[in-house]
């Protein structure tokens, strides 16, 4: 029995890169959401949370229009010589970043809010600049939040399907990720392959969540003062 590993590796690559990008982009965004008193803060928070409630096809549809040859972003990428993003790995990556954003931003925001004002004030009175404070105090105290964000961002990207179909299609080695491969196997009545990949994903998801809950349980206990 041979397993087609290509979708597995592609999925890991996509989820890994998406998580990395989201941690880089999502951290300042979550920090701003946690600290800002701006009147439009809730509007930004709502936009970030949209993928939680919208069908993935809606996001895929508009991203397709936006990134396509007639969309503003598509025209920009073409004029920059990058070509068009839809139906490429790059396009899939952009879509995944939008689609998984709330799963990274929200745990980070909660963790930053839980750190509270006091440790920041203490660090300031101990001559730490705001950036210094962020890395020496906030990040270590918000570690459970970072772990949750990374795991949820990764796992949720592994599980996406609708967005991939809309914007990525089904190109082996390029956009044919696990969820699409499973769909293919079922359509062609190849239940054995579908079982292998599906059962594997269930096992993976369970292990990921189990690890997360144990790790955060331990961290939370060690962080109580």
């Amino acid at each position: 029995m041979s397993v087609d590993w290509q979708p597995v590796f592609l999925t890991i690559k996509l989820a890994g890169l998406t998580t990395l990008l989201l941690l880089i982009l999502g951290t300042p965004l979550a920090w701003w959401l946690a600290r800002s008193k701006a009147w439009y803060k809730q509007a930004v928070a709502s936009v970030v949370a949209l993928p939680l409630v919208l069908p993935p096809t809606v996001i895929g549809f508009y991203l397709l229009l936006l990134l396509g040859p007639n969309g503003p972003v598509g025209q920009l990428t073409e004029s920059l010589g990058l070509g068009l993003l839809p139906f490429t790995f790059g396009g899939l990556l952009v879509a995944s970043v939008f689609y998984s954003m709330p799963f990274v931003v929200q745990p980070l925001q909660n963790a930053f809010e839980a750190v509270g004002q006091r440790p920041l004030e203490v660090a300031a009175t101990l001559r730490a600049s705001p950036l210094d404070t962020f890395f020496s105090v906030v990040v270590p105290l918000a570690r459970p939040g970072f772990l949750t964000a990374a795991v949820l961002g990764f796992a949720h990207t592994v599980g996406e399907f609708g967005v991939v179909l809309m914007i990525g299609g089904n190109i082996p080695g390029e956009t044919r990720v696990l969820s699409v491969a499973i769909y293919d196997h079922v359509e062609t009545l190849d239940y054995t392959q579908a079982h292998i990949l599906s059962a594997g994903l269930i096992g993976f998801a369970f292990l990921v969540l189990l690890t997360l809950y144990y790790a955060n349980g331990r961290l939370n206990r060690s962080n109580t003062l």
Partner: protein, 361 residues
């Protein structure tokens, strides 16, 4: 500007927090402990936060020669040479006590460090607990680590916001000697927010009385405690604290003579060496006045004094009188009837009989 003014602290700030308004204009001495005393809600903590820059208020703040805030400039908190001790110890939970105290120390250029780790560890007696994390320390131990951490930034000024109020009685007793030692060892000004008369009596040199966001009084401790126009005078334990030095030990009777500016009193021997600085607490209700030096009395501490001012007390049967022994002011509580029959009036010389005096430990 003369040198003394340049050494001092000038704080002039206005701010509002919802309904609450704070409006201060204070000149404070450049050394010693200044206690901000008042009920909760009087604005003393907000005042301290404004001075630190943790709360952004309008106004001017000058510490010695350093201007921290004026109309055009606001020095951010982390660039102010201050140390701040919060009400709860607020140690960083992800660090050991050692890492906590090194946090600020490592952020100071080596050339500006005036206090070394060993010194601070020794002062606060925290050598045994350095490897522990905050959750393995008692409340009192955490606060001692927090004080060491603050001092290791070699600050220009130390701000303390009710550092003992979150502690139980035993932890308070455990920390007080360290604070008293710091009071003598530090040559930087300390601004100390408290609502405890006891802490004021132990530590303060200067007293700032606050009420409803305003300053009711600001002056040297004994002078402020004996003012007759302030609400603290009517408290049950109204009285005065005198800085004094043990000058003589009378072994036979287990007494010591304590000298203050303008006089001396006998007190129970606290077991401290001659030359040691102590504080004497004399309550208004423990002094009585006589027109002649009384003989045949059990009272040993009898001194000539001058009446300075007479004032109201809480109960109409009582009066408060400020007298002066040498240059030291004292407060006397007596009945209106006695004051009348002795014909007390400002400028009159009387004999003060001090029934009881306590050495503050």
């Amino acid at each position: 500007m003369n040198r003394h003014a340049a050494d001092g602290i000038h704080v002039s700030v206005r701010t509002s927090l919802g309904q609450f308004k704070l409006d201060l204009d204070l000149q404070l001495p450049g050394r010693g402990v200044t206690a901000f005393f008042g009920h909760s809600g009087s604005g003393k903590t907000t005042a301290l936060r404004c001075i630190a820059g943790l709360h952004r208020a309008e106004g001017h703040i000058r510490i010695g020669e350093q201007v921290w805030q004026d109309a055009d400039h606001f020095v951010p908190v982390h660039q102010r040479a201050l140390a701040y001790v919060f009400q709860e110890a607020s140690l960083f939970a992800h660090m050991t006590a050692q890492q906590n105290i090194e946090y600020g120390y490592r952020r100071i250029p080596a050339a500006e460090r005036k206090i070394e780790i060993d010194q601070a560890v020794d002062w606060l007696g925290i050598g045994q607990m350095l490897s522990r994390t905050p959750d393995k320390l008692s409340g009192g131990e955490r606060q001692r680590v927090a004080i060491a951490r603050a001092l290791l930034t070699s600050p220009r000024i130390l701000l303390m916001d009710e550092p003992l109020s979150a502690l139980d009685h035993n932890s308070k007793r455990e920390i007080m000697p360290y604070l008293e030692e710091l009071h003598d060892a530090l040559d930087i000004p300390v601004l100390y927010v408290t609502h405890s008369p006891d802490e004021v009596a132990h530590l303060a040199d200067q007293l700032v009385l606050m009420e409803d966001g305003r300053v009711l009084a600001n002056g040297p401790l004994a002078e402020t405690m004996t003012r007759l126009d302030l609400p603290i005078r009517t408290e049950e334990d109204a009285g005065v604290v005198l800085d004094s030095i043990i000058t003589e030990r009378i072994e036979q009777w287990h007494l010591v003579r304590c000298e203050f500016t303008g006089g001396s009193m006998l007190a129970r021997d606290p077991g401290l060496p001659i030359g040691h600085r102590i504080r004497l607490r004399v309550l208004a209700r423990d002094i009585s006045l006589a027109l002649e030096p009384v003989t045949g009395t059990s009272i040993q501490n009898i001194m000539p004094a001058t009446i300075e001012e007479l004032g109201e007390d809480k109960h109409p049967a009582l009066m408060l009188v400020r007298i002066r022994i040498g240059t030291s002011p004292l407060l006397v509580r007596l009945t209106r009837l006695s004051a009348n029959s002795l014909q007390l009036e400002p400028g009159k010389t009387v004999w003060a009989q001090v029934k009881s005096v306590a050495i503050i430990e």
